[in-house]
Symmetry: C2
């Protein structure tokens, strides 16, 4: 009885493997990808940081620009800024409701974007993370066309990861991979504050 | 004109900050969270690995169990297994269509689960990642009640992250935070193979 189950399983899996192998053979390209992680759920920035770890594990060079965050006491910054192979920039002044200063936010956004532009033009970076960039586009603090042009014109093998809610249709269109992270349930709404190690 | 815009912005942001501060004040609990990252999109495991980096940045101790993966040449394994504070276990034999051996897969699942159980019972681990655990539950290779009981009975300050497609209703019910990662677009479907640094 169980032998039967096992042998039917084996036959089904052999067929599945043939299909998957054919798909893998078709997907033969290697190139720098633009990956967009958007939506309201938890996991956008942490996913970008997981890719930083993967890239470092392969000996790649990584640049990270954090556009909104102003705090430098996060776990990710503490951890990665001491790793060889990473250039880590905290470029924000906090969220708009923290600064309450629109002109100042725009100036900060533009200064930050210059740092990002330099990395996007430098083929020595294998991976560039633009964390929370979407907000600067949706507020209109940066010119979307200029930003998308700089991303499109990057070195061909460079991967770029953009995170943040509300990715625009034009950014999604340019991207190779887009994940929409939906917030099905969040501890915060049950009265739990942001926790070290998982949220910051 | 622009002064007007700036001062209306400031007033609106001050109101928004008052609301957000009140919400933060209400969310005062600190405890170990169960975070589930599910759905078909890219970013589930990488998000878990980003949380590993955050936790290490805070000097926390982390345990990782990878239940499906058999390869030890991934960027994440290369990178994290050389970091102090991490116990990293690659416990899989590959996907079901790779092994084509149901009885063997069940035995592998049970051996892996013993490693995870030990970490879930050990309060010295601040964060435990159970990567791709959902598949072992949906295939019926592990007893779901036993798994959920072990997670529920873990030390109160321990965070657990579970990744994988098709999280069951019972797992979602037990979780504090659940992100559904939808696959809006994937480079693989455009003929690009899995890329070092972002996919593995």
């Amino acid at each position: 009885m169980s032998d039967d189950l096992d042998s039917r399983h084996k036959a089904r899996m052999a067929r599945k493997k043939a299909l998957i192998d054919a798909n893998i053979a078709r997907a033969g390209d290697e190139r720098g990808l633009l990956i967009v992680l958007t939506g309201n759920g938890k996991g956008k920035s942490s996913s970008a940081f997981g890719m930083v770890a993967r890239a470092l594990g392969h000996g790649m060079k990584v640049g990270v620009a954090q556009f909104i965050k102003s705090r430098t006491d996060t776990g990710e910054e503490a951890f990665f800024s001491r790793q060889p192979g990473v250039e880590w920039h905290v470029l924000g002044d906090g969220f708009t409701w923290d600064t309450q200063d629109r002109a100042g936010d725009i100036a900060t956004a533009r200064r930050g974007w210059e740092v990002a532009q330099r990395m996007l033009a430098d083929a020595s970076f294998d991976l560039v993370v633009l964390d929370e960039l979407t907000y600067l586009l949706s507020y209109g603090y940066l010119d979307q066309d200029a930003v998308l042009d700089a991303i499109a014109a990057r070195p061909p093998m460079q991967h770029v990861v953009v995170t943040g809610r509300g990715a625009s249709p034009a950014l999604v269109e340019l991207a190779d991979t887009v994940s929409q992270i939906a917030d099905e349930k969040h501890a915060y709404r049950a009265g739990v504050k942001a926790q070290k190690g998982v949220d910051l």
